[in-house]
Each structure stands twice: as structure tokens, then as C-alpha cells.
């Protein structure tokens, strides 16, 4: 589609503006005072219009698609859904996942004996979640990963397990994309 090329117009400088710098100051003051009084009014009415939030007291509301730290899905029986296939380990660009698989007599046969994520290296990219064939690792909306020692940033399996019920928001968001390319009807996930 042909569009135009436009030349930006430079407005002539009004003499009054130049000689009377106060005019520009008043103009700026008008803008900032409008913001100030609007915010004050919002504050008085208890409906703040300011952009920031009082962080520790109020929590930020994240979008459903929000990618926080990767966590392991814990099934209702208290076990992880992960089968230690190692795909997430492979997909991770910064190699921050460490898995040692082991065998079990459960139906899934394999489980991760060790599942560590080094949160100080993780960049919350979500590639592990995308590569997982079991929906076992998902990006939660947790972001608090501070620790006082670098070793504290290596999260072990027990720290990473999150009950599946707490992850509904993110799971709902990623499940939207499960069959976007399907020419056939959507396939329901069989209950594990």
C-alpha cells in the first residue's frame, strides 16, 4: 500500500515564548499540577490514579501469560509429573537444569531422583516449558527468588514442586495454544 512521505513541521517560535521564559514555565506547571491534583483527588477518594503500587503491601497483578520462575507440577498424589526425559535440560539455553533420572514401579516408570534449577542463571525464557512433553514444568507467577548465598539459588526438587491447583492460571494460558494448528478436532489430554 503506497503511503506518503511527510515532512515534519517545525512551528515558528512565538516571540512571547522566547522573551518571556515564564510562559513556558507556566505551561509546564499547568501540566504537572493537573497530574498532581488528579492524583491527589484519586488518593482522597481512595481510588489511586498513580501508576506505581506500594509493593510489599500490594502485589502486582500479573497477566495470565506471565512467565515467572519455572516450577515442577505436583500431582494430587504428591508426586511430580516429570518423567525425567531430559528434554527441558536439553532445551535450556543456559544449562541451568540438572536432572538425575531413576526408575520407579509406578505407571510412569521413571522419575527424577534429582531435579535442580539454578535460579541465578535461569532467565525465565520458557523454553523448558515449551519442550516438555508432559506438561511437567511450567512457568509459575512466582518471582521471589532472592537468597543470601549463591547456593541458595539452586532450587531442588522439593522446593520446586507446586500443587497443580496453584498453577491453573498459567496452565489455562498455555493450553490455549495446544491445538492452534490442528486440522482435526482438539485432543483432550488423558488424565494421568
Amino acid at each position: 500500500m503506497p503511503g506518503r512521505v511527510v515532512t515534519v513541521e517545525r512551528r515558528p517560535r512565538p516571540r512571547a515564548m522566547d522573551s518571556l521564559g515564564a510562559l513556558a514555565i507556566l505551561r509546564g506547571l499547568a501540566v504537572t499540577s493537573r497530574h498532581f491534583f488528579r492524583n491527589l483527588w484519586g488518593f482522597l477518594r481512595g481510588r489511586p490514579t498513580i501508576f506505581t503500587i506500594n509493593y510489599p503491601e500490594e502485589a502486582q497483578q500479573f497477566a495470565p501469560a506471565f512467565r515467572g520462575m519455572p516450577v515442577l507440577v505436583e500431582m494430587p498424589d504428591g508426586k511430580e509429573r516429570c518423567v525425567a526425559c531430559g528434554l527441558c535440560e536439553w532445551a535450556c539455553p543456559v544449562d541451568c537444569i540438572t536432572i538425575y533420572p531413576a526408575e520407579t514401579h509406578d505407571e510412569v516408570e521413571r522419575y527424577p531422583r534429582v531435579f535442580d534449577i539454578d535460579m541465578s542463571r535461569c532467565m525465565f525464557c520458557g523454553l523448558c516449558e515449551e519442550s516438555c512433553p508432559e506438561e511437567a514444568i511450567v512457568m509459575s507467577d512466582r518471582v521471589a527468588i532472592a537468597s543470601t548465598h549463591w547456593r541458595g539459588n539452586v532450587w531442588h526438587k522439593q522446593d520446586l514442586l507446586v500443587p497443580v491447583g496453584d498453577l491453573e492460571k498459567r496452565l489455562g494460558s498455555i493450553r490455549r495454544g495446544y491445538d492452534t494448528r490442528a486440522s482435526e478436532p482438539a485432543v483432550e489430554r488423558e488424565s494421568a
Partner: protein, 407 residues
């Protein structure tokens, strides 16, 4: 700025040139309160005049190209976010278009429209950052805070699309990470309106402000010939009157189906660069509105297991797709051997990716042609002979982004 020459003198007085002295050496940076971006500018001054300058970049060098060569094609996408972190999605798009060109595939229309919308959202966030930070470094703090507020709205849109505000990692080879959420068009219109409302206040405070105009008008002038000789593209070149915009001259995605204007300036000074960016903000909003209206339904990814992971719903239940998933993750996408150069219009100019493939799952060479690098190079020429105070607005309007310049 007033330009009484430091060397000229009234009769009967001693000119500066005749005073015994030596040039003053001044190091601006690497972290200087009046420059956004880690760069060191070595200056030699004669009074307030700049005799010579040497711009030293590299403080943010992280070995982007080496990292890309070490990983699979898909694993480089998060690193491209960190090139121009003010407009991350444009980098994602550029890189993925280059790899798709190697494969010879094209994503479906909905994917293309979403990429276009996301790119323009990123461009807006970049321009808000540039104008806000530019004003702040000229000591106008309020416009900066308002611009950050406008940028937050753009980042809310990033978050709604892909779940991250800055490190987006949104575009995939052969598609997108995820489809737009429900109600995205409405959210987008609301956020754009909010951002434009705040930005109108910024304009009210800056555009006609005599101090702001004094600092920007007539400073940092570079002719179109100089800029072209230095390979400068983007708003800088357009402000000098050259309507080069890759979205128009070599359209990619769906830009050829959208109606937008290319703003150009006349004199190529800093004020023109400011005005061009302000106008580009309006044009980006126009593009987003048209693209939202025309957003088709349908798939966002190519259905090709060579390069795009199969839909999860089928991976869970079917053997073939599960094998595809394993193969693609462990081996990576393997484009046929060859090389491509793909350029997109980044927020600061031509952002090109030159990728050499030897047929394996890892790029043999992944080169990023970053606009900031070429643009920063011309700073020395722009401030030659100017006053020291002109370095700040010139550097602001060049909008050097360290992550992209130093890679």
C-alpha cells in the same frame, strides 16, 4: 546554543587562542549521569569547544555471536531480546525471519499480523524511552517519568502477549510463542489510548519549550551525505530528509498492506530527530490500529515439524508428534546449508541478521548488524567543533542502546 566563537575577540583584548594553555582532556562516561548507555567519550576541549573526540564502545560486550554459535537456532532467540532491550520484539522478529528465510518458509497470515503488531508495540516503547531519557538528560525529569509511564503501558501489552515485559522471547522460528490472549485488541486500544494521553502531556511540555528547543535546534547537524557514508539508518537519516524506511522500501511481514506515512525532517538537527520520532509514534499507532482491525483468524505457526514444535495437544497423545518433539528439541532446527541476510526496520535503523548455516542444528555464524553501532560512530563527526553541552542532546537523539551496539 549561542555560537560566539571561542577564538574571536573584541579589539584590544586577548583571544583564547593567544593565551598560553593546552587542551583540556575530559572523559565522559563509561557511566555518566547525562548519558544513557555505557559508553566513554574522550574529549579534548578548547574552552567549551570540542577539538577532538573518541567514542569508545564495548562496555556491554557479551559475546552475542559466540553464544549463538554455541547453541541451537531456537536457543539464540532469548539472546536477541537483549540486543536492543528497549524494543526486544523487533530483534526476535528479525532473527526469526532470517532463519525462516534459510528454510524458505513463511508463517501464516495471523502470525504475520501478530508479529507486525508486536513489532510496532516495541517500536513505541523504544521511542518513548528515547524521548523520555533524552529529556531527562537535559534536566527535564517530569517528561521522563511520563514517558516511562507510557512505556509501562507498552510493556503491559508485551506481558499480555508473551508473559514478559522486557525479555520477551516471543517470536519462534516458524511462528510465535503463543497466540494473542482473549480480548487483546480491546486491551491494546485501551493501553495505546492511555499511552498517547500521557505522551500528549510530554509534547505539551517539550515541543514548544524554548529551553528544550534551544538545546536541540541547530545542534548535532549532519548532512545526509555524511550519514549515508557512515551507514546510518533509521530516524537519524530520516531527520536529514532521506525517506529510507525498510518497512516501505523492502517490505517484510504485512507492512505492504498497511497504510502509514514516513516522516522526514529538513535540516537534520536534533530537533528534527525529536520531531521525526514523535511523528513515528503516531504512525506506529496507526499501523497497530489497522493491523488489529485486519487481524485474521487461523493458525499462527507453520505446520512443519522440521522447525516448529508440534502442537502440545498432539504431543501428549500421539507417537509421531512426540518423536518430532524429541527430535526437534535434541537436534534443533536444521536449516539447509547456505547463508542469508535479512534486514528489518529496527527502532533505530536497519537491523540485519546474517546467518551462515552448514546444515547442522547450530548456526555456523550468526551476525547481527546493529543500527546503534553505525549510528554511534557518527557521533564524533556530529560534535566536532561544537560546544561540550551539545554532546548530551546529540547523544540522546542518536539513542545508542548499549546492548545492541556492543552485543
Amino acid at each position: 546554543m549561542s555560537d560566539t566563537d571561542a577564538g574571536s575577540k573584541a579589539p584590544g583584548t586577548v583571544g583564547l587562542d593567544e593565551l598560553h594553555g593546552e587542551p583540556l582532556e575530559l572523559q565522559m562516561g563509561p557511566s555518566h549521569p547525562a548519558t544513557h548507555g555505557t559508553v566513554r567519550i574522550s574529549l579534548k576541549l578548547h574552552g567549551e569547544r570540542i577539538l577532538w573526540s573518541d567514542v569508545q564502545v564495548g562496555y556491554l560486550h557479551r559475546g552475542f555471536e559466540k553464544e549463538c554459535e554455541a547453541g541451537e537456532y531456537a536457543q539464540a532467540i532469548p539472546y536477541t531480546d537483549r540486543l536492543n532491550y528497549a524494543s526486544p520484539i523487533i530483534n526476535n522478529v528479525g532473527y526469526c525471519l532470517a532463519v525462516e528465510k534459510l528454510f524458505g518458509v513463511e508463517v501464516p497470515p495471523r502470525g504475520q499480523y501478530l508479529r507486525t503488531i508486536a513489532s510496532e508495540i516495541s517500536r513505541l516503547s523504544d521511542h518513548f524511552t528515547c524521548l523520555g531519557a533524552g529529556a531527562m538528560e537535559l534536566a527535564a525529569m517530569t517528561p521522563f517519568l511520563y514517558c516511562m509511564q507510557a512505556r509501562e503501558h507498552m510493556w503491559d501489552l508485551h506481558e499480555a502477549l508473551c508473559g514478559a515485559r522486557v525479555t520477551t522471547n516471543y517470536v519462534r522460528i516458524g511462528g510465535l510463542q503463543s497466540d494473542a490472549p482473549e480480548g487483546f485488541a480491546a486491551l491494546c486500544r485501551e493501553k495505546l489510548a492511555a499511552a498517547l494521553a500521557i505522551f500528549a502531556d510530554v509534547e505539551r511540555m517539550l515541543t514548544e519549550n524554548p529551553i528544550f528547543r534551544d538545546r536541540l535546534e541547530g545542534t548535532g547537524i549532519a548532512s545526509a551525505e555524511t550519514l549515508i557514508a557512515y551507514g546510518v539508518t533509521g530516524p537519524l537519516l530520516r531527520a536529514a530528509g532521506v525517506p529510507l524506511d525498510l518497512r516501505r522500501t523492502q517490505p517484510y511481514l504485512v507492512y505492504d498492506q498497511l497504510d502509514f506515512d514516513v516522516p522526514i525532517g529538513k535540516t537534520g538537527d536534533n530537533y528534527d530527530r525529536y520531531l521525526v520520532r514523535v511523528e513515528e509514534i503516531r504512525q506506529s499507532v496507526r499501523i497497530i490500529e489497522q493491523a488489529l482491525a485486519a487481524l485474521p483468524d487461523g493458525p499462527i505457526d507453520v505446520d512443519d515439524p522440521r522447525l516448529r514444535l508440534p502442537p502440545k495437544g498432539r504431543v501428549f497423545n500421539r507417537m509421531e508428534e512426540l518423536i518430532d518433539q524429541f527430535k526437534l528439541v535434541t537436534e534443533g532446527a536444521r536449516p539447509p546449508a547456505g547463508e542469508v541476510y535479512q534486514a528489518v526496520e529496527g527502532a533505530n535503523g536497519e537491523l540485519g541478521f546474517y546467518i551462515v548455516s552448514n546444515g547442522s542444528g547450530r548456526p555456523w555464524k550468526c551476525r547481527c548488524r546493529s543500527p546503534s553501532f553505525s549510528n554511534t560512530q557518527v557521533l564524533g563527526e556530529m560534535v566536532q567543533g561544537a560546544l561540550l553541552a551539545d554532546v548530551v542532546p546529540t547523544f540522546d537523539m542518536i539513542n545508542m542502546i548499549g546492548g545492541e551496539c556492543d552485543r
